[in-house]
C-alpha cells in the first residue's frame, strides 16, 4: 500500500517536475544568448552537477559563451587547480567551443588574467562585445580593487560605447540581502553614478553564495549569482531589495537578449527552474541623477510555451 502511495505521489509530481525543467526563454534565432555562473572554483561535486545541467540545457538553448562572476579558483592557482576547478568540470563546454569570460573574485590570483580560456585579454578589467551581437557590450570589472585608474577606464569605455545594452559584471554585489556580506556600498558609491550617467542596464555579480534578483534600483536590474559551486544555506535575509531569492541549492542562469528584452531563466543543479522573467529596455531618454538613460522595467515575459502552473516562485 505504501509503495503504491509513493508511486502515486511520484506520478503526481511528474508534470510539476517536467514543467519546472522546461525552457522558458523564447530561444529566438538572432538573440544574444549566454549563461551566467558565479563562485565556481571548488572542483567538487556541486560544481560538476551544475556543469552537467549547463551542458544539458545547452542542448535546448545553444549559447556560445558564459560569463563568470569571480572566485574562479578557490584555494590555489597551480596547474592542478586550473584543471580540477575549471578545465575538467567544463570540459564538454570547452570542447564544444563555448567561450568563458571571467572576472576576478577575492579568492583569485590576479594573474588569472593571463589564462587565455578566461578571455580577459591579460587585463584585470576589460570589455567585450559578443560575436555577431548587435548593440550589446559587456564590461568586466575588478571590484576587489576599484582604484581611480579603473574608474577612469570605465568612464571612458562607457562613454565610447554606443551599445543599447550595457551589461557590467564583477564579483561584489552593489545591492545584496546577504547576511554574511551584504551590499558592497563602498563600490556602489563610485560605480553607480557612472552606471546611471552612461545608461548601464544590467549588473551581474557573485560573492554571495546564493541567488538573488534585486528589485530594479534607479532603473538598473541587478542579479547576484554566487552559488554555482558554493552554497551558504539560509544566508539570504530577504529584504525590501529582494525580488526573488534562492539560497537552498546551487544554480546558474540562462539569458537571451532579444531586441529590447533581456529574458532570463535561473536553473538549479537538479534542473528545476528557480526564477524566470524579463528586463525590458524602455529606450533612450535623457539621464537624470536618479534614472538610467536606458531605464528598464522588470516583468514576466510572455511564455513561448504554455505557462506551467507550478513554476517555483
Amino acid at each position: 500500500m505504501r509503495r503504491l502511495l509513493i508511486v502515486i505521489v511520484m506520478l503526481a509530481a511528474l508534470p510539476l517536475s517536467n514543467a519546472a525543467q522546461e525552457l522558458k526563454l523564447q530561444n529566438a534565432k538572432d538573440a544574444v544568448k549566454f549563461a551566467v555562473i558565479g563562485d565556481t572554483g571548488t572542483g567538487d561535486g556541486h560544481q560538476a552537477a551544475v556543469a552537467k545541467q549547463i551542458v544539458a540545457w545547452r542542448q535546448k538553448f545553444p549559447f556560445p559563451f558564459i560569463v563568470m562572476m569571480g572566485d574562479n579558483l578557490y584555494g590555489g592557482d597551480g596547474t592542478r587547480d586550473y584543471q580540477k576547478k575549471f578545465e575538467t568540470p567544463y570540459k564538454d563546454l570547452l570542447a564544444s567551443g563555448v567561450k568563458f569570460y571571467a572576472t576576478l573574485g577575492n579568492h583569485d590570483n590576479p594573474n588569472e588574467r593571463l589564462y587565455k580560456a578566461f578571455n580577459m585579454n591579460g587585463e584585470r578589467y576589460y570589455s567585450f562585445r559578443p560575436e555577431n551581437s548587435k548593440g550589446v557590450r559587456f564590461f568586466a570589472l575588478d571590484s576587489n580593487y576599484v582604484d581611480p585608474k579603473q574608474l577612469e577606464w570605465l568612464e571612458k569605455e562607457l562613454a565610447a560605447s554606443g551599445s543599447d545594452w550595457k551589461i557590467c559584471f564583477f564579483h561584489h554585489p552593489l545591492y545584496s540581502s546577504g547576511e554574511t556580506h551584504g551590499s558592497a556600498e563602498a563600490q556602489r558609491k563610485l560605480l553607480e553614478p557612472l552606471f546611471l550617467k552612461y545608461g548601464v542596464n544590467v549588473v551581474l555579480s557573485g560573492h554571495e553564495h546564493f541567488y538573488e534578483r534585486i528589485k530594479p534600483q534607479k532603473g538598473i536590474a541587478y542579479f547576484t549569482l554566487g552559488n554555482s559551486a558554493k552554497l551558504r544555506k539560509g544566508d539570504l535575509q530577504k529584504t525590501e531589495l529582494t525580488a526573488k531569492g534562492f539560497d537552498t541549492g546551487y544554480a546558474f542562469m540562462l539569458v537571451e537578449i532579444d531586441g529590447d528584452d533581456f529574458n532570463f531563466q535561473v536553473v538549479s543543479e537538479t534542473g528545476e527552474t528557480i526564477d524566470t522573467g524579463s528586463v525590458h529596455r524602455v529606450g533612450k531618454t535623457e539621464p537624470t541623477p536618479d534614472r538610467s538613460s536606458q531605464p528598464v522595467q522588470p516583468g514576466p515575459k510572455p511564455e513561448p510555451r504554455p505557462a506551467p502552473s507550478a513554476t517555483p516562485q
Binding site: 596547474t79 590570483n109 593571463l114
Partner: protein
C-alpha cells in the same frame, strides 16, 4: 590649520608629485581629499608633498628592479598553459628576490612615509561611514597569522586577497599597474602583482 594645509596642497600640485606617482599608468591622479601635514604617530609637522616625492622615487627604484628581473624570467603573457603563468610568476619572484636580497622592511615605507600614509588612511576610516570601510577590511581578509609578513615573501596562494575598500584607494597615491596595496589586519602591504610577492609593508597602518 587651513594655512598649513593650503601650501601643502599647492606644493603637491606644483611639484607634480601626485600626477607623477600615477604617471606609470598614463593617467592623471586625483589628489587625496585632504592631505595632512602632521605625522600621525609623533604629531610632528611633516611636508606631505616631499614625502610623496620620496615615495615615488622609491617606487620608481623598485620598478627598475622589477624590469631588470623580467629580462631573465619567462614572459608574463597570455597563454593557454596555466602552468606557464605560475612558472613565469614564480621565476620573476625568484629573480626579484635575488636582485633585492638586501631589501628590508621600511625601504619603501620609511618611518616618515608610513606616518604620512597612516594620516592619509585616517580620513576614510574615521569618516562618518568609516565603520563600513572597516567592515570591508574584515569581510574577506585572511587571518594575519596566515601571512608571512616579510619583504620578498610570497603571498600564500591558498589565502584570499582581501578587497581594498574603494574609499581607501581614493586617498592613497595611485600605483602603477604592477603594484597594489592590500590591507591585512592592521598592516598595509605593497604587493607585486606579477611576481606575487610582498615588496614592503608596515604594521599598524589602520587606526
Amino acid at each position: 590649520m587651513k594655512a598649513i594645509l593650503a601650501p601643502a596642497v599647492t606644493l603637491l600640485l606644483l611639484t607634480g608629485v601626485l600626477p607623477t606617482v600615477a604617471a606609470q599608468s598614463g593617467r592623471p591622479s586625483t589628489p587625496p581629499a585632504a592631505p595632512q601635514t602632521f605625522d600621525a604617530r609623533t604629531g610632528e609637522a611633516t611636508n606631505g608633498a616631499q614625502i610623496l616625492v620620496d615615495f615615488k622615487k622609491r617606487i620608481d627604484a623598485y620598478l627598475k628592479v622589477h624590469d631588470e628581473a623580467k629580462k631573465n624570467a619567462p614572459p608574463m603573457k597570455q597563454t593557454t598553459d596555466s602552468g606557464a603563468i605560475k612558472e613565469a610568476q614564480d621565476a620573476l619572484g625568484a629573480r626579484i628576490r635575488e636582485l633585492r636580497a638586501d631589501a628590508r622592511q621600511g625601504d619603501i615605507f620609511t618611518p616618515q612615509i608610513a606616518g604620512h600614509f597612516r594620516t592619509l588612511l585616517t580620513a576614510p576610516l574615521n569618516s562618518e561611514d568609516g565603520h563600513k570601510t572597516k567592515e570591508i577590511l574584515k569581510d574577506d581578509a585572511p587571518p594575519p597569522s596566515k601571512i608571512n609578513f616579510a619583504v620578498n615573501a610570497k603571498y600564500p596562494s591558498s589565502e584570499t586577497l582581501p578587497t581594498v575598500p574603494a574609499r581607501v584607494l581614493q586617498h592613497l597615491p595611485t600605483l602603477p599597474k604592477t603594484l597594489e596595496y592590500r590591507i591585512i589586519g592592521k598592516a598595509l602591504v605593497l604587493r607585486d602583482n606579477d611576481a606575487d610577492i610582498i615588496v614592503d609593508f608596515f604594521p599598524n597602518a589602520i587606526p
